[in-house]
Symmetry: C2
Subunit: 338 residues, 2 copies
DNA sequence: TTGAAAGCGCTAACAA
DNA sequence: TTGTTAGCGCTTTCAA
């Protein structure tokens, strides 16, 4: 079970162990002949370099922390997948942790990451308070936030232009003929949601539409909460022809409530989502939605982080990606009789 | 940016650094007074223990490798979530990697894990060949396989009783009145699938049913392949009243094809899945299915691995969990007129 | 081109 | 109860 070390190789090759190190690291200060001989020996003796020992002297673990609120969430699991691929291509591995949207845990995880000497961390924050809560650590370790817009905060993040996404969504519905568009699931205490609501409001203003809201007082966004909210909504009089859901999970909840209520989508009401999670493309669901480009976000997140690590520069960057509309079949043109 | 070390604390406290180490590790060979003083100082000076250095002398990184074919898959992302929670509760962290079902990458990943000195690895194998392919490493590092049954192979694994699951599924359909049950998506080259097919066949035999198969010649299981296969199937004459899909993703593909064909589920044909992935519980989908208990699998996987790590024992264990039926609305009773 | 030796931050055996 | 010291496996000066 004991692994063979550089010393074992040195002994076998009858050289000093610094020579072996040189052979392995591809240093030029070594003769071709000895290098070959040593490399050959390494293969034969089944040598695997000890990354931990190397990390200790190099002061770099080639490890990146990834803190998510939960990988089980389909949006995040896709993100995680792409982040792993991108990081690996750049020679790094991922230490994955879930905060369960809990600020205390989140802080604990950050300390853990620091103790583990990861070279940097990517974090999908538990909430808008995360920044304040994590601030003491941010000067100790390169960090990039993902997903949430931190706005004026002087830390790196990558996210989608949520304002613009909502704006695009309203335009799409408008072009389909809709004039009464309900914004469903507005939630306080989330910058992301705040920005989406602002984009919606702006588009309404520009297109001369009356904004209507169905606010989400629940502490989070989920299918269940979306469902409960929609049940209440459908019990009231309907003064809209289209619903713009703040998130796809909300939209999924709406679908369920609609089905039970006998409301047909898109015949009786059009439904537009935001995020384009995996579920939205499923048969029978086919939700038209504003997409967050997850693969791109992952790629940009890793790149930003590595830039930050390598440059030693204490600056920060805000990378805002443009969302696009993914057309499926939950929105229909409105034949207005006016 | 430079982190404070045990030496800095020692200097500040005016003690030797082994004393600091003792204070930190909760050793009894130290006076309460100095311990308190040191701990206080650590807090003030913002000391975080360097896990890498500790790992080096302790010969344990408290890191567990997790190799999946892809976290973006909903089944695996749930598994990963629970594995992280369970591992963390036991003081370990997860290094996550995706093999993309590629044997070469899988092998590379394994070497990487060994180099990183992880204490053990959990792997959802790329295929049934994985065991042979990874064999050379298995003696170097405690490993447990997840998901796939390896049958007679002398390595630890945790999986669901796929044979029994299929059997239960047929019984359920039988109790609903179905006598003509098609097994959809049988695939060679996967022990898991093989076992499910065997369970199906055995149940048919015991219940005096004629087994019917719709084989999957595609290299993997996915919604897309399920859809393509189902399209072919629905073009032929229908000699069954229920379809038992080998996996939920297959079932999802069937749903899509059925929709296009005008076949109603469950009115025209009942549909039963296997796995209970997250999507199956979505509104409008509501797939009745045989569940793999993911949380339990995660928990058992972590426990088995830690047992193996701690006991130093070179044995292995096969943990087979019992699947259960999750009833939703894709299966209907059959009113037979016989 | 190679070897000797220091040191990364920590634990633990041994001395005091 | 505390200090001294060796050593984990590696990289990297500095000498030879």
């Amino acid at each position: 079970m004991k692994n063979v070390t550089i010393k074992d190789i040195a002994k076998a090759a009858n050289v000093s162990y610094s020579t072996v190190s040189r052979a392995l690291s591809g240093s030029p200060e070594i003769s071709d002949e000895t290098r070959k001989r040593i490399l050959q020996l390494c293969k034969e003796m089944n040598y695997t370099a000890n990354t931990v020992a190397r990390a200790m002297v190099m002061k770099s673990t080639k490890l990146l922390g990834l803190i998510l609120t939960g990988v089980n969430n389909p949006f995040m699991s896709e993100l995680a997948y792409h982040i792993d691929r991108q990081a690996r291509a750049r020679g790094y591995n991922i230490v994955l942790c879930n905060s369960s949207r809990n600020l205390d845990q989140e802080r604990e995880l950050f300390e853990l990451m620091i103790g583990r000497q990861v070279d940097g961390v990517m974090i999908f924050p538990a909430g808008p308070e995360s920044y304040e809560s994590l601030r003491p650590y941010l000067s100790h370790i390169p960090t990039v936030f993902i997903g949430e817009n931190l706005r004026e905060v002087p830390e790196s993040y990558v996210s989608v232009d949520n304002y613009r996404g909502a704006y695009i969504g309203v335009e799409y519905l408008y072009d389909l003929g809709h004039r009464d568009i309900l914004y469903f699931g507005r939630r306080r205490g989330s910058t992301t949601h705040q920005l989406r609501a602002e984009g919606y409001a702006a588009a309404c203003k520009d297109l001369d539409l009356t904004p209507r809201y169905c606010n989400n007082a629940f502490p989070a966004t989920s299918i269940k909460y979306g469902y409960q909210l929609a049940k209440q909504l459908f019990a009231q009089e309907k003064n809209y022809t289209a619903i713009f859901a703040a998130t796809d999970t909300n939209a999924l909840g709406i679908m369920q409530a609609a089905e039970e209520t006998g409301l047909r989508i898109p015949e009786d009401v059009s439904l537009l989502g935001f995020d384009n999670i995996r579920d939205s493309g499923l048969p029978r669901i086919n939700l038209t939605t504003v997409e967050q480009p997850k693969k791109m976000m992952a790629s940009v997140a890793v790149d930003s982080l590595l830039d930050k690590i390598q440059s030693e520069l204490a600056g920060y960057s805000h990378r805002i990606l443009l969302p696009t509309l993914v057309e499926r079949s939950s929105c229909a043109p409105l034949n207005r009789e006016d």
